[in-house]
Amino acid sequence: MNRTGRSLLLPAALLVALVAGPGLSEDKDPPTPPQVYRTFMPGAGPSAFGVVLAPYLALCYDPLRGGVNQSWQGTLDLAPTLRAKINEPATIAGTVFYEESILQPLRIEDPETVPERRFKGYRYADGAVIFDYTLDGVAVSEALRITSDGDGVERAWMVAEGGHTFYFLAEEQSDAEVVFTGGTKVSPGLWKFETGTDTDSPAPFAMTMQAKTKK
């Protein structure tokens, strides 16, 4: 992301600053991203998450479908969700480069079976937002943060319990470069990772999503 590009996007960044209001206390600076807003998101299940990773990078996390519905270069306009009696979904203020629509793309033990997924909440840690849930009763954490070059989304899954095999059903992306690490490719679009029996520090299965066209 070059400097000019970033400043061009500043007006959009203000959108979220405006609806979000300033930060942690009356007299401190605005919070540093990520910021998570539970709200009405277009095309998502009820009460999904708008996640602002940086003033120029955002995504929709759907706790019911189970994953990142889309990620875009831009920000999130919450005003339609807040202004009237009959609300409307938030606006994706930017250019979408990554999209996902498979129901529960993360599967456990069998890639053909949609697991039972229960949402458990989220937390802020180490510059990331970490979503917690269970798949068929097994606890999974999914961390989302900006990549170290500040350009894209890094997404890593952590499973403490050993002895499980997970599959991720990856969809083809025309506008994003997607790179997987820590897993093995079973077939085109199907990735697999295992949680060790010796579970001290399981190697995370991770992916990065980056827009092919830089804004």
Partner: protein
Amino acid sequence: MKRRLAFFLLPLAAAASLRANTYEIEEITLPTAMVPEVSGVTFTPDGQLVIVNRHGEVWLTADPKNGPWRRFAFGLHEPLGVFAASATEIFVTQRPELTRLRDTDGDGAADRYETINDDWSVTDNWHEFTFGLHLNKEGDFILSTGLPDLAGPLNTLYPRVPLNMEKVHEERKPSPGRYEGWVLKVDRDGRLTPIASGFRAAAGVGVSPDGEIFATDQQGDYVATSTLVHVQPGRFYGHPASLKWAKDYDGPLDLPELAKRRTPEAVALPHGTMGGSPGEPVWDTTGGKFGPFTGQIFVGDFTKLISRVYLEKVAGEYQGACFPFIRDAVGLEAIQANSGADNLTIPAGRDGLKYFRDVPPRSGTPLRPGNMRMAFAPDGSLYVAQTTRGWASGDGLQRIVWSQRTPVEIATIELIPDGFRLTFTTAMDAEKLGDVSSYRLGRFRYLYLPSGSPRTDEAEVAIRELRVAGDGRAVELALEDLDPGYIYELEVDPLRSAAGDRVENPLAFYTLTRLLDGSLFTGPMSEPLLIAEKKTDQGPNPENGLSIYRTFCVTCHQPDGSGGALPGATALPGTPALVAADFTLRGPEAPLSKSDEELIRFITHGSEGSPMPPFGGVLKPNQITDVLAYLRSAFGGDSQALSPTPTQPE
């Protein structure tokens, strides 16, 4: 009209501010960074104030007067309830779940947003709310859910629990998501138990000091008027949409069967007079710091009203009385602007305006609308959280402080074998207490119908005997007709305290579901008993006139027509007579001795330099003749009768 109203209100406001109220309203200054749609208020065990707003934030302060405030959490989905276990562990109801917010790194802001339970499904509909949040005796969380409205879209994608879109009863508000229209319990292990069904939008849940659960419901289909109900496990409270989520659900029921299953409310909050949209019930546990109503319940309302409820147990179930506690003027212009509109600054709906009774403006800080959440502070003041989005305007946080002067009020109304016993907060003028003309008593019912119901079977009730207590603090009203199934309406405007003061809120309703022996109404729940008389003549209608009078004229002329000094008026010398005409006067100087033509002209155009507003722009000509017919029938005695074909005002 605007010019003259302003002329009237300015000196009034100036004079009125000299007078102290028995309860004062104070504004709490909120952080500028916070959008003041305050949708929840509570205190931590160590006394810090915690509020949430519709934008999804949680804010805290140890000093509500001076701040500073700290934002504890943000990004929540329309939280409408909050419970603070401590300043670092706060629970909120969001639309889709009950959430625990924790600050684990000690920086003053929550870093963990943990889902405690999400076993109900939501559809992003605008009328779908999750309300809360209080603990019962066992420490379980009590919350409730509202039904969506088909006037707005439903999001049916990826529901948390499969939806059931079937509309099984004749219902305007369905229950597509599991447990929509229920009061629910979530225990400390995060397990959900549905408690009771039949709610339309139980916008306020509360738990009594004894641990009993209560909820308010909102007037509309199947819920003829807003209510305060005692929530008991397994019971059904009237709106059938939610029934399909009951364990023992066995298909749709017809209206008589639904009526049989329905548990009646503890107290009806008659629509129009007692507001239009109640919020959270809170119990006065201040031990006298908030005045003489210890143990009673306060219920905020969306309109500019906070009401008070006194409950007693009759034949094993709660019933009782409601009173206005603090209400504020809406004003002629707002009434006119809102007439019939779906705007709850004054109650909407059929009975809304008809029974609405405006009051003179209070002195000092006025009460805002949107009073949906309240909590008592450790110092005994009552914090009122206000949010009005889309329905009216006015948001924020106020607190109500008792000024240590005893208000002259009916403290309690209790059922006795032949009527009611009223107990007052102070000794009363015994002569007026013993005078039948001090009381106006009536009764009515609401029908149980899919369409909702206006008041029906309205009738006056005669007082057979008055028994005044020796200390002048109580009176027993023995009635001609004391029957279960009716709401009794009492107006006591002429009563005065022993010191000569008016009753602050001379109005009360007792919901007489049962008599002392437990007997209940046995007639049809969904049909009137009295057949309304068909009006054949097209002449002026004093009944319509009464509702116009209550809405537009009582503020100055009083319910009993006696008029008198407008509030705060005497303090300003040199202003024109701020004295409303006394319609009960007799003789050639009496207002009602004038001809219809003269009076119609006066009501239409007002009078130059007088605070009597011209009503020509507010009321239609036939409404003016209706209200005149009412003046003559109610206060005119043998004064000149209204001519059958009155001259129409130009």
